[in-house]
Amino acid sequence: MTNFFLQALAEVGTPSVLGLIVIGVLFGIIGGSIPGFTVTMAILVVFPFTFAMDPVSGVSLMVGVFVGGYSGGIVSGVMLGIPGTPSSITTVYDGYPMAQKGEPGRALGIGVAASFLGTLISVAVLVFFGPLIASFSMNFRPWEITALIVFALTLVAGLSSGALLKGLMAAALGLLITTVGYDRNSNLRFDFGLPALGSGFEILPVMIGIFAFSQLLGNIEKLKDEKTDAKKIDTNVTIPYGQILKDMRGQKLNTLRSSLIGSLVGALPGTGGTVANFLSYDQAKKFSRRPEEFGTGTPSGIVASEASNSAVAGGAFVPTLALGIPGDLPMAIMMGVLILHGITPGPMMFEQNPVLVGAIYASLLIGAVVMVLCNLLLVRWFAKISLIPQQILVPIVLMLCAIGAYALNNNLFDIWVLFIFGVIGYLLWKAEVPLTPLILGVVLGDNLERQLFRALELNESWLTFLTRPLSALFLSLAVASILFSLYQDRKIQRLRNAAQRENV
């Protein structure tokens, strides 16, 4: 392990790759700090720039965006009182009140320090658990992999905030999209007489279309509906380093607990930074001796929020690298980057591409250091950039999406794919269909079909899925996750009905 890590460190340590990590972190922080832009959007915009790069450079750039993006939400959260990303909502609870009391530098400093420590702890979790899980999953045969993918999809669909049916339907729709074009037996499917459909849809334009259009146009709709006035903020921030060191000394346990929650939640499919953020804030409040201070500008609240959401970055890599199953949208795109560079994420990656795995570890560590330096030195600029209005951002990002889709294969048809899936994504978003299961379906579709039929070719009985212990376990968990979601849906519905009755 030490050998391949040192080799990876040597590759990542070259000036060009270090430069890419710095660019990635900077862009990630900017993306995370602009309200409504999100980490996922930042990753999507940077993705096309990796096409012409070697795998280590491309992955390092993307990891930089991850690390920067998860920490970027703190800038707008503290300065504007608006979370830059959904994963920094609870940062606002204490960061903004602290800034309002005249200590924005202290709030930002604590947040950055917590983000840094959260990332480091999550890398340790990744380094320890990644190879362990990968080595265990080497025993998985097609039955287990099929059942695991089904479980991941049902789990993600079930976590779609009270919309289980729509979540499951979205996952199936995502899988169906991957059946267009020539299949594993070179048989043509669903080409509707159009030669361009013969090669199927590229994952990237489909993902960008579905996610970016719904997100960007949704932001425009919100602007129209809310018509909020632009806030005027004082970007003249000084970081009180001594005070922050003192604050952080009293937050050791909180930092460790929040980082572990972030890493664990990040490793679970369908959860991500937002869940980690709320869970860790809630736990910090419960364990605190002064819970009444939460929400008034206490350092504990900022630490719980920022350590957990940054720790998601390392944790989320565990299932992606070890099992080949991305847990959330940013990881689905990361998996797209790896596939694009001819690398199949999964247990074999640790044996076949150990240097690349090491490069991911190294980029996360270097990215964390760069993130601290950038945030502390350039916080004024990030605060100013976070004020860029959506009216300017949306056309620019749409243009970058179009160029990104084209640059993938130098194929104009991919821009049309982007456009059509943009319309579909927007309509589905309007119909309140969760889009994460759909995108995961698109990413996992090919592998699910391949594994399912490999299993059936080895043993034609479908019952084998239930007679093999691990496969049966994953399928049982899939059923359990659906039943649990049904129970949650009913509970939410009962609460809504009760609230309606109270209002009447």
């Binding site: 669903f190 949306v394 749409l398 456009f419």
Partner: protein
């Protein structure tokens, strides 16, 4: 008459897609002795799943009482009026995709950025025009240089 809600529209649209895809799946090469499951089985399983889930969404939406509203045509008209910016942005993007191979990256991109920034920011002050034109021209050229000379990617 039944009121068209989001869930009902979604379920009906999906059922239509399932029907079309099912018919189209009839054109897929049938199973053979060396491909006993055939290439149509997997998509057909998914079509059944989507069909059943759509029916469940439809039935559930029919069980919920909704206030009777104006017809679907009126509803769509109202949506177009309130969201004309979104519709215009989609049209501009479609036009951009169509013009890219005809007039090339630089002209099409400048045109798209100027038009969409004008649509979203407005054109009522000189300052807005200056921001619009500066951003459109500089960004188009910067992206061109980065892709063409930095990443060796040819743009149309």
């Amino acid at each position: 008459m039944l009121t068209l809600t989001k869930d009902r529209a979604l379920a009906l649209a999906l059922l239509l897609i399932v029907a079309v895809m099912w018919v189209e799946s009839g054109d897929i090469r049938p199973p053979t002795s060396w491909q006993p499951y055939g290439s149509a089985l997997f998509p057909r399983i998914l079509l059944v799943v989507i069909g059943v889930l759509s029916l469940m969404i439809l039935v559930r939406s029919l069980l919920v009482k909704v206030p009777e509203r104006v017809g679907a045509q009126q509803l769509i008209k109202e949506w177009f009026q309130s969201r004309h910016t979104i519709v215009a942005l989609f049209l501009l993007f479609g036009l951009y995709a169509a013009l890219l191979p005809l007039v090339g990256y630089i002209t099409a991109t400048i045109g798209f950025l100027v038009a969409s920034l004008a649509l979203l920011m407005g054109t009522n002050t000189r300052r807005k025009w200056i921001i619009n034109l500066t951003l459109s021209f500089t960004l188009t050229l910067v992206i061109f240089v980065v892709f063409r000379y930095g990443l060796n990617v040819w743009l149309p």
